[in-house]
Symmetry: C3
């Protein structure tokens, strides 16, 4: 795939500074680009590389344009424009319409003739696969699973019974959508499995990362709203709701029945307790434990940066005696203000 | 599937308050139930919904029965009774007895004629599949893997060589049971792989969540005792033992050779070090780091709830200087009791 | 497989104390060994078991040899020597050379005639499989994926398009190598997917654990250097580099564009932020949050061991007021040294 700068400028609404007939066929970083490559700059700390890049052209904003030694595609949001151009140069692998001969299709499955179903897939009874859907190799759709138009299951994705996936949603390999929620009733010292009778509804334009798991609801559904982006190895428990356009980094865990608002950003390895409500526009930095609801927008944290081990051990030892510190301070305050000889309380 | 209240009362030992001929065919929450739905109440905070629910009947305990505006199935443990009734209304998907024509079965595998082996499964040499076992699509049993009666591998489960799984155990998609333990000998600056010659023994009535991994033992076996419940994305390292009826929430990691007692409850994302012994009846709340053994029953914690980022940064900065705080306090105590002018030690 | 002690001594350069004709055919722990078993001792705390073990022979170092009641294979590094002997006694499962009839092979894939490709694999266009490679059941190699000689994909491994895997590397089930990196451009309140045009390059002698995910690079490649050992459920984000011979325990998360040096050891559940540089020979203990670069070798920590919940709650409450503690201490210092009656500042 090769495209001219003039065509890119017209198609993506950029101001072109340079020769419209120059063609690019790949992307590269500023440092490693060559005369067939398109680069971009969104982070000012790379600006000095603009003077020396060998790229055919650079996608950038007006503020950076003056520093650029080569052709420039000037736009307001270079990262987003770059993303759109890269999608033209690197179209996702497509399969031919139709069902691979090795796939196992239940008689009652409904597969749009324009959809692709790859080798060794299993498509269950009553499953529905919409127009232009790509179902990569070795995927599984259990009975009644539904994929709206242009959904893309890259490979080896498990979509359990009755799960609904919205248009254009992309799922990476190994993800499991609709496994049973972790629901058990305690009876004396044993656990009785509670059938998980809900399902999962995933909105349009969602992305679900590799080996991420989204459990089906206990009675009602687990819901991932439109535009949500989930990284790898995330756990979404039963009856969670993730609001539209929120982005969760890798290894986040969200416990049962918690609701996350719209446009939230959750850092890696954050753990969120059950039955909580996180409002809209909440940002939580990585490795934070969330044990209560967060009604207000803002940035929240809970991780403590590391130290050299011997320093850290000392800090922890002091922390474990912080109670004594507080009590002794109180005693000292009392002693000082009263001017008595009362000894500090070292409990 | 539809069933009368009278039948449910008899079968599950409930006192029925209402018309025994009324039939239900689904479950619902109190808020969303209709005249064909059965609901339940186990948590008193939903009790006010009893007055207005449109459910055909509600499973509840004697204390709540008076508030219920509709028919009631009164029992001691409504959650457990609800679980059993829901299992009647929602029987797990069954497959026809026999082996799907697309499955690849080694000549020496022994498969009970009443078992179901789904499409595109691979069953290795010497594998044993017991009566009424359900092996869902795309599962893998390596050589010598054994499934006792009524085991249920929902789909795409990997059971590695020689792994034994007890009766009625349920495994969710993507779980890997019996991958190699992480064992390496250090030799100069390199790692030499130590063959993992043990296997995994999983007891009866266990549940294993989606994409959870349980590694095979280095020499002896990794053991999951009866009734254990493991949520999604859990890591059980080699030679771990998890005691009967313990429940581990999602993303817990248990390091090698650690033993967890019976009836423990471990919260999400807890990390447990290696070669430790956790006794019976230990409860550990989410996001806790466990670096030493816990001999006594009790509730243990180690996570610090989040704050707004600017507040948190201040707390962390103070914490990093807690040593100085302690030293200065000590100096002040000395100074005050001696009445000298000695300066505080700010180290 | 059975082998004589004499043969082992010669082959692995041990000094044999005992009968060279005694044969062993399995390994065991000192405590559970019998007269056909080989045991080893690397940890002095098991030394007392040397007097009573029923093993045919024990692999040990000169310092332990005197305590051993049975035959001994004396060497400098008993753990490494044991590992090599165990690999002789327990050769990894091999498959016959050739491609299983149920595998789906693209016409342009190049598969060495000595390689094994198991049942229900899918091998994409342009994929290359080298000599003596083992591709276990249900693996997927997307277009252009390359496996060097003696690579071992145990089962159900996903190797995405263009990923290169070095010689002798072993991958456990469920791992996903080369899924899309988590890259999105923000545009108003929405996320635009940034095509991930790089791939993953994995060096020789690497091990990758079950359900671990390694994302492909955004523009350039994600790189795992030779000899790296990755445990289960690890997340390696796009454009990360892990230096040679580093070992990462389970559930570690490494965020995008971070570089980890050589010979590092990273404990379980450690979370490492993005765009950081961790130098060579860095050890990080489990459950640590890494939010800044670590230029110098050393041992680093950041986890706080648990306490009984009621103790922990008190510690946390004090910690949340540590600011007040510091301010009050400062006030007291001022008061004491000045000898005024100024009240403590309780802000």
């Amino acid at each position: 795939m090769s495209v001219s700068l003039g065509e890119l400028a017209v198609r993506f609404g950029c101001e072109l500074r340079g020769d419209p007939d120059v063609r690019v066929d790949r992307v590269a970083t500023l440092a490693h680009a060559d005369s067939r490559s398109l680069a971009f700059i969104a982070n000012p700390r790379y600006r000095q590389q603009l003077a020396t890049t060998a790229a055919a052209a650079v996608v950038l904003d007006a503020a950076s344009a003056g520093d650029c030694a080569t052709a420039a595609l000037v736009c307001q949001n270079p990262h987003a424009t770059y993303a759109r151009i890269a999608a033209v140069l690197y179209p996702p692998p497509a399969g031919p319409p139709g069902v691979h001969s090795s796939a196992i299709i239940a008689p009652g499955a409904r597969i749009d003739p324009g959809a692709h179903v790859g080798p060794l897939c299993v498509i269950g009874e009553g499953a529905v696969i919409g127009p232009r859907v790509f179902v990569g190799p070795q995927c599984l759709l259990e009975d009644g699973a539904t994929l709206a138009e242009d959904v893309r299951l890259t490979a080896r994705v498990t979509v359990c019974r009755g799960v609904q996936i919205g248009a254009r949603t992309i799922v990476q390999p190994g993800a499991v959508i609709g496994g049973d929620g972790f629901g058990f009733a305690q009876e004396r010292d044993r656990w009785i499995k509670v059938p998980q009778t809900g399902t999962v509804r995933v909105g349009p334009d969602v992305e679900i990362g590799a080996n991420t798991t989204i459990d089906r609801g206990a009675i009602e559904d687990t819901v991932i709203e439109e535009g949500v982006k989930l990284d790898n190895l995330i756990m979404i428990a039963h009856n969670v709701r993730v609001g539209a356009h929120s982005a969760l980094a890798a290894a986040v865990g969200v416990s049962g029945s918690t609701s996350i608002g719209r446009r939230c950003m959750i850092g890696g390895q954050v753990g969120i307790g059950g039955h909580l409500t996180i409002g809209d526009d909440v940002v939580i930095t990585g490795c934070t434990m969330v044990s209560h609801s967060i009604p207000r927008p803002g940035v929240y944290s809970g991780g403590i940066p590391l130290e050299e081990a011997h320093v850290w051990r000392r800090l922890v030892a002091r922390f474990k005696r912080i109670d004594s510190l507080a009590i002794r301070l109180k005693a000292l305050e009392r002693h000082t203000s009263r001017g008595t000889d009362q000894e500090e309380d070292d409990e």
